[in-house]
Amino acid sequence: MITAGLALLVAAGFAVAIAAAHAGGGALLLPGLVVLVGLAAWLVQRLTRLGEGRGWRARAIALLAPLAFGAVLLALWEALVVGLAVPMVLLPAPSAIAARMAESAGLLAEDFVQTFLRAVLVGYALGGALGFLTALLVDRVPFLRRGLLPVANLVSALPVIGIAPIMVMWFGFDWPSKAAVVVVMTFFPMLVNTLAGLAAAGALERDLMRSYAATHAQTLRLLRLPAALPFVFTALKVNAPLALIGAIVAEFFGSPTVGMGFRITTEAGKLALDLVWAEIVVAAAAGSAFYGLVALAERAATFWHPSMRA
């Protein structure tokens, strides 16, 4: 009860502060904000303590604590940027970014289709599939495994993104060259993780399969692939943000006049920072949603694994 009242008080306080900042009353702003942030910190701490119990109520409250923290951060950002009249080149206010997003929705959608639906998804699927199939092949040939694994580990420590100009040279300016960069970036994590996963099945279970005279394919299908699934999903989760970064940065090296990376560089050059931030918001939302979907699929596919039952 006290917590709910406090939350309302903090929200109202921030609303007043933001309104005052927009109206130009910056003098009282800073001491007021200090008090508000103090109250908010106390609120977050309270929510944390309330969220530590069991049951659905505690779980809901535990979810509220980070949300409250984020909301406070956003409100503070708005009040400070508007109140102190920070130039937009340095940092636009959240409201300015939101207004820009509404205004340029069509442009943002075009860039999203070009970069995310084409380059990222195609590259992610191809890279993952190739890595997985290569791992199955390498697993059959022990010599290849001993030789290829150190090489794959080395490549994963290299700045793979640098191949973007070469891919542009090979596949042209449009999205296939970006997808190719994503393929190379996502291939090695999938290869390394799948190989580790294929080795994860227990020796006892493997002996059991052998005593049943199971073929290689049967052992693979019934025992080793299911055991490898958590590792495959780890790679899928690692690859999701990697693919987005790869596609965006690859566009820095030349692209048609559409795409998130293209927009970010050209608009940053024109100092239209609100549009750049709008692209970042879209990218962040797409990246989080992508990651979240993969995590949900993982939960559905590997519900039996100990890490999912905690």
Binding site: V44, G147, L158, F252, G287, S288, Y291
Partner: protein
């Protein structure tokens, strides 16, 4: 004997990759070279065309020895002060990567220490740190460069900040885990000694977190090189490996791109090697099983 056994498959795979590379160079460059010969009025001759694919100046895929030659020429046969020196550009990138690594690791360890000690921070801040992993941080690079540029900051610092931002997350997350990784028995022992929080931190938590620190440092080192290179892209930077990549891309100089790539790979690999060696040394000094 065992070392030789382990090295044989790696060498075989490496040799196969080089052979594949040569085959790819022939296949990819064949058409361009053959067309060039036809335009020049030369008779079609398979051997001559084959030789041409190995020494073409602007190949789709340069042969390995061409890349090696270019690296040698620009790194060691060019004076260090020249704008064409690969070592100069590599050093500029390495400088930014190292500065970023230092800033990012320091910030990451500090935040992790705060998270471990303040429970409210752990519950409220940690989900955001994890969620921010899904944000394409590198896309922020142009913003950071432009914003800092209006403040009059140029050169090393903006690049270092981007590299630091990339290093920050792996270190924070690993250290938040590592600082909690001390043996519960050892923690109980500290309590029976009535050790203060600071004493527990310096004498137990920090040493126990070192394996986590080194594991994340290796990830962060790779990230710092990527960050420094990408930070050199959007500004039209004049120097650094990222600038070499971009210039090579704009002016159609594949050999320059490949040489910059090799330099970037060497930078990453040597940072990784130095960290791995330090880790072994520290582990031995602390009496851990390596």
């Amino acid at each position: 004997m065992r070392a030789r056994q382990a090295a044989l498959p790696v060498l075989a795979v490496a040799a196969a990759l080089v052979a594949l590379w040569y085959a790819g160079a022939v296949a990819l460059n064949w058409q361009v070279v053959a067309e060039g010969r036809a335009r020049g009025g030369m008779p079609p001759d398979a051997w001559q065309t084959l030789a041409g694919t190995m020494s073409f100046a602007r190949p789709l895929l340069p042969a390995p020895h061409q890349v090696a030659e270019e690296v040698w020429r620009t790194a060691f046969a060019t004076p260090l002060t020249s704008r064409r020196s690969l070592l100069l550009h590599a050093w500029i990138t390495l400088e930014a990567a190292l500065a970023g690594l230092a800033i990012g690791v320091a910030a990451g360890v500090l935040v992790a220490a705060a998270i471990v000690h303040v429970r409210a921070l752990q519950r409220s801040l940690m989900p955001w740190i994890i969620a921010s992993q899904a944000i394409p941080v590198l896309a922020l690079a142009p913003i950071v460069i432009v914003a800092l540029g209006t403040l009059g900051l140029e050169g090393l610092l903006p690049k270092a900040i981007i590299a630091a931002y990339l290093c920050f997350f792996p270190v924070t997350i690993a250290m938040a885990k590592g600082l909690e990784a001390a043996d519960p028995l050892a923690r109980d022992l500290m309590r029976t000694y009535s050790a203060s929080r600071a004493q527990v931190f310096w004498k137990l938590r920090l040493p126990a977190s070192l394996p986590f620190l080194f594991a994340s440092l290796k990830v962060a080192a790779a990230a710092s090189v990527v960050g420094a290179i990408v930070a050199e892209l959007p500004t039209g930077a004049q120097a650094g490996l990222g600038a070499r990549l971009l210039a090579g891309s704009y002016f159609g100089q594949p050999l320059q791109i490949w040489a910059a790539l090799v330099a970037a790979a060497v930078l990453s690999a040597s940072l990784f090697g130095v960290l791995a060696a330090t880790e072994r040394l520290v582990a031995r000094r602390m009496g851990m099983r390596a």
